[in-house]
């Protein structure tokens, strides 16, 4: 008897996926085992390419050396300390940027006049790439933490503003009307009705900016300053220690993966009331 896809998915296969790819006899294909196998296979390919001389370069260490460098760096603190410094900057910038973004988004979404005056400015600033912004910013913020935190916050603000404004605009008039008939003040309506109702959209923006914050932190650290994982990457590169550079990149990848996962879990708690077809963990 053929195994039905519907059973494996725990829901009736009403969409007919089974017919799309034939009937699957191997439940393992529906788990991430294959995906991790792919990752392992690619890493093996990396190892072989370096060990067997398919790619000869001082900048191409075998993956096993990268792993040992990661292990060493994390325990000795040579990697752990910059990672912690980067995370601290990232979190500060992210918190500042996202709270500013939500407040600004709520204001722009509800106050028409403000929207007309401010949005064009935001739109003009948005496409500016980070490296182009650094020189004028150095003027006011120096080279250290203030600069980097600002740059991260700056990168985070835009997606959050855009998604907050979008969320606020999409709120059903009925909802706001309901709150008003109960005699809620404008400010209360904003906090108690508009904000929660726009939350799904805000969360989408917050999530995009989370990975953006990580990337920006690293790039900012590459441009200026002498600490953090971005600086470590460059220093390892210029110190001819490619395995340490890749170790740092590996750390960023893992941290990014974990951050995203953590965010999705958090989002599920915050948005328990909100149904979404989301299997992106």
């Amino acid at each position: 008897m053929a195994v039905e896809v519907g059973r494996l998915l725990s829901v009736p296969d009403t969409v007919g996926t089974a017919r799309w790819f034939g009937r699957l006899r191997f439940p393992i294909l529906r788990t991430r085992v294959t995906g991790f196998a792919l990752v392992v296979a690619l890493l093996l390919l990396w190892e072989c390419s370096a060990r067997l001389g398919w790619m000869v370069s001082q900048n191409w260490p075998p993956f096993s050396l990268v792993l040992t460098a990661t292990w060493r760096g994390l325990w000795s603190g040579e990697l752990a300390a910059p990672l912690a410094a980067s995370m601290a900057r990232m979190v500060s910038g992210y918190l500042i940027g996202s709270s500013c973004g939500i407040v600004l988004g709520l204001l722009l979404g509800t106050v028409r006049v403000l929207d007309r005056f401010v949005t064009p400015l935001i739109e003009a600033l948005r496409p500016l790439p980070l490296p182009a912004l650094v020189p004028p910013l150095i003027l006011f913020l120096g080279l250290d933490d203030a600069l980097k935190i600002f740059v991260v916050a700056f990168a985070v603000v835009f997606p959050v503003v855009v998604s907050t404004v979008g969320g606020v605009r999409d709120i059903d008039e009925v909802l706001i009307g309901t709150a008003r008939t109960f005699g809620a003040s404008r400010a209360r309506t904003l906090l108690r009705v508009v904000l929660p109702a726009a939350m799904p959209s805000i969360c989408a923006g917050l999530r995009i900016s989370l990975s953006l914050a990580l990337v920006t932190t690293v790039v900012a650290e590459m441009i200026a300053g002498s600490s953090g994982i971005g600086y470590t990457i460059l220093q390892a590169q210029y110190g001819l220690r490619p395995e340490e550079m890749y170790a740092a990149v590996l750390c960023i990848a893992v941290v990014g993966y974990l951050l995203n996962m953590g965010f999705v879990l958090l989002e599920r708690r915050i948005l328990r009331w909100h149904q979404r077809a989301d299997a992106d963990v």
Binding site: G6, S10, P12, R19
Partner: protein
Amino acid sequence: MSAFLSVDAISKTFTVGKQTLSALGRISIEIERTEFVAVLGPSGCGKSTLLQIIAGLIPPTSGRVMLDGKAVTAPPRDMVYLFQQYNKSLFPWRTVLDNVAFPLEIQGNSSGRSVRQRCLEYIAMVGLSGSEDQYPWQLSGGMQQRAAIARALAAEPSVLLMDEPFSAVDALTKLELQTLLLDIWAKHRLTVVLVTHDVDEAVFMADRVAMLSARPSTIASVTDIALPRPRDTIATRESASFLSLRHGLLDTLLKKDRPGPTPDEVRVTMDGAAHG
């Protein structure tokens, strides 16, 4: 021996986690060409599942569906399904005209003017002339369902499967659409299977009403509706035989064996009201 559309010992079980849920247990029914059959049952009895199996949208766990002597394993071309959720069934990215043209496109005869002409005819048939260039969100619920009906007709099916098609429109529109559909059924000599929980609708429209039991559903009874055709929105509903059939079915459905008013009593009341 074999009818035009035959449902042969269909059963369906779903597995949710480690639990198995038996939705349908051995259902058989034979439907003749141009017959109008209503499937009536309490909510959650698996009416829609049955209809989707007939449509070939989901496979049965056991049993089979035969259409004109051929087993149904995928949606057959001359069978069309009309969903309750017209707002999701109509493609929002297509105008009314393009929605109606969809089946023609799929069947591969989407050649120029004649297609447009034919679509406009179907649109006119459901009373939507003038709205052909509008997008679904610009139409009211009733109009959307009319568009869905026009699209179903455009496929020129011989069988129309309807899943509570009027349960989401307002009461008056519902009456209009029922009559509209009966007209179309008669004119196009369609075979119709209508799933509904509305006893009134089932009796008013169908030739036969199959009543499903609670889960796992089986056919509890099949009632012939010998009301004369064409049926009239108001008069048919006031006839004694209509009321009696309605009473009987409602009685079974609600599983109340309290002594209700007899059909005669009802008629008296109704007549009195009509004459008063």
